[in-house]
């Protein structure tokens, strides 16, 4: 076999399988979004009806609002916390290895089980503390109130995701040569200016990656919704993935939710590209 053919043999099977199990379903999804199919039985083409309905559907609009509010807050919190922890771990601290190992634990644990555990903490442990200390807002389950349930989901998601982002920042921080700081120290820069002038520009690529990855993960939130609130109270915490799953399977809205998924895809792709473009440009300015 010629070298050229060997390379083809290496890639063509993978390409075919990928086409069959990824591209083809995606095309099917787009196809069905123009029909009125339930997932079983007969169907017809309905043109853009599903798409128009999606934009008129308060439930879908609310789920976008919730998902974005949640994703933006969680992304910012995760990045601030993980950057702080990474800076701490990168400083000369005692028990550095142990602390690093501890902070990384949440990453290896599955979101679903963590959420079940936190669900108990929110419904039993925190109210218990709140009642003993007579703290009003803490003495009832925060997942039970329309106004605060989303915060519970933020807490669990940030708890789990901070670990991974910390490691990414840490791997950025260790690449910064110490001489840079020493030079700045001679110039009399304080640690605040050192951070903004040296550290932050140096880890800018990691900041970009972290923002994009975290945002993408949070926009797809599903496990924590199922385990913590089931989309409730009311429909206060229905994420987009959750609406597609629920409506698509239980509600018999296969075609309608396919249209929702197509829009969702366009939104995610646009945001990712936008983030990469903007953050990269800002990175170059430094």
């Amino acid at each position: 076999m010629s070298r050229k053919n060997v390379f083809l043999v290496m890639t063509i099977p993978a390409l075919l399988i990928f086409l069959v199990f990824h591209t083809f379903p995606a095309i099917q999804g787009i196809f069905y979004s123009f029909t009125n199919w339930h997932g079983y039985g007969d169907w017809q083409f309905v043109g853009f009806k599903n798409f128009i309905n999606v934009f008129k559907d308060q439930q879908v609009l609310d789920s976008y609002l919730f998902t974005f509010k949640f994703a933006i807050v969680a992304t910012i919190l995760t990045n601030v916390l993980s950057l702080l922890i990474a800076l701490g771990l990168n400083a000369k601290v005692k028990f550095q290895k142990t602390l690093r190992a501890l902070y990384f634990i949440p990453y290896i644990l599955g979101m679903l089980i963590i959420s079940f555990i936190f669900s108990f903490i929110f419904s039993k442990v925190l109210p218990d503390i709140g009642q003993t200390l007579h703290i009003q807002w803490l003495s009832s389950n925060i997942l039970g109130k329309t106004s605060t349930a989303w915060l519970g989901i933020v807490i669990v998601s940030v708890w789990q995701s901070t670990a991974f982002n910390t490691i990414l920042y840490l791997s950025g921080l260790v690449t910064i040569p110490g001489e840079l700081y020493e030079a700045a120290g001679l110039d009399g820069a304080n640690s605040w200016t050192k951070f903004w002038r040296i550290t932050f520009p140096m880890i800018m690529p990691f900041f970009t990656i972290n923002m994009v990855l975290a945002m993408r993960t949070f926009l797809m939130a599903f496990d924590q919704i199922v385990a913590l609130t089931g989309g409730g109270p009311g429909r206060a915490t229905e994420s987009i993935s959750y609406v597609i799953y629920k409506g698509g399977f239980e509600g018999g809205q296969f075609a309608y939710q396919s249209a929702n998924a197509v829009i969702y895809f366009i939104v995610i792709a646009a945001i990712s590209i936008f983030q990469i473009k903007v953050l990269q440009k800002r990175g170059e300015q430094y």
Binding site: H38, G39, Y40, G41, N50, N53, D57, Q58, Q59, F122, S123, P127, S139, S140, N141, I142, L143, G144, K145, T146, G230, G231, G232, P233, G234, R235, A236, Y245, K246, G247, F249, E250, G251, G252, Q253, F254, Y256
Partner: protein, 410 residues
Amino acid sequence: MKKRLFWGLVMSVFTALLLSGCSKNANNKKVTLELFSNKSEAVGTYQKLIKEFEQENPDIEVKLTTPPDAETVMKTRLTKNDIPDMFAMSGNGTFGELARAGVFADFSGNQNLEKVRPVYIDSLEKVVGPTKKGTYGIPYTPNANIVIYNKDRLKELNGTVPQTWNEFVALLKKAKAAKITPIYWTLNEPWTDQSPWNSLEANLVSQNFAKLENEGKTSFVKTHQKVAKKMLTLINYGHSDNFGKGYSDGNTAIGKGDSLFYFQGNWAIPEVLKATPKANIGVFPLPTSNVPGKTKLASAVDIVLTMSVKTKHEKEVKKFINFMMRKENAQTFIDDQLAFSTIKGVDQNNEILSGIKPYFADDRITAVMDSYYPQGMGTASLIQEFLQKKNTNAFLKKLDSEWAKTLDHQ
């Protein structure tokens, strides 16, 4: 050397896993039936009866599937064309939808139907609707939307079982004044708000509502004002964390006497007793009117036994259904589950349920209407939201718009 050891290890794990993955289906000549149930409360009872059945029929094996969120799982499997052999499911809207989609076999003429009180067969056929003629299952147990009360707490208040709405509210006030939690709401799980809603709606709204709403001739705004108002009265008499507690919390609380009343269905009673074996509890239907004796018990077919139209083991499934329909087994089932039976001559004599027994005996029952709602509308979540926001008109309008939307999107 080390490397070789590593690969050796990997290969042996590999083969072990492959073997264990493949050895499952060898030497298996038994017929395996899958029974799909949406009642996690009844797992123990089903397993007991299945064991007996398997001893009688050593060549048949019955596998029970009881996932959470069972209706979503069932529809997912429908999408996949992967349909269980038989079902023991609620005779609700999902049942109606699946029957209309031709998932279930027609039992018209089946000898088991003769044992069943006709009112339940009617009710089942109504859920399926006039577009699809036939009887798509055998009603097994009816359920009851009820108020569970703690007898010790009621005694402390010198109260008696209320016969009218005003008496009921008076008791709520009295309990509140005596610092006893009047109602233990468990609204962290939205479905639990449907018990009082169903009782109120089934008594206060015309049974034609769904048909008229489908035709656009009526609306929630027009017909459900009273229901909504009464729900708002009830939510005033809860505890400090109405939306933070769930079903299992409520089952424990009412048994221990942490509250006077608890809205549920009869299916919750075994769970209450599991958490507190000596719970001193009783039940009654939520009185919805001020005329004594006018309130009817809101009931639906709780379990329908039915079969996939595509099963390859029709004979065996029918054997199992016949087994379940035997008087002694139906009795075991309702004794264990503290349920009622659709079968003539199979009675529930448990003292706890004496408060609703006469309603079943005299057919003083009215159909729960949510079986006629469009599926996937998420009524329970909408009610849950309403009980927090207390915005009656916006809520009723939303029910109307969601109804139309759900019909339109399917």
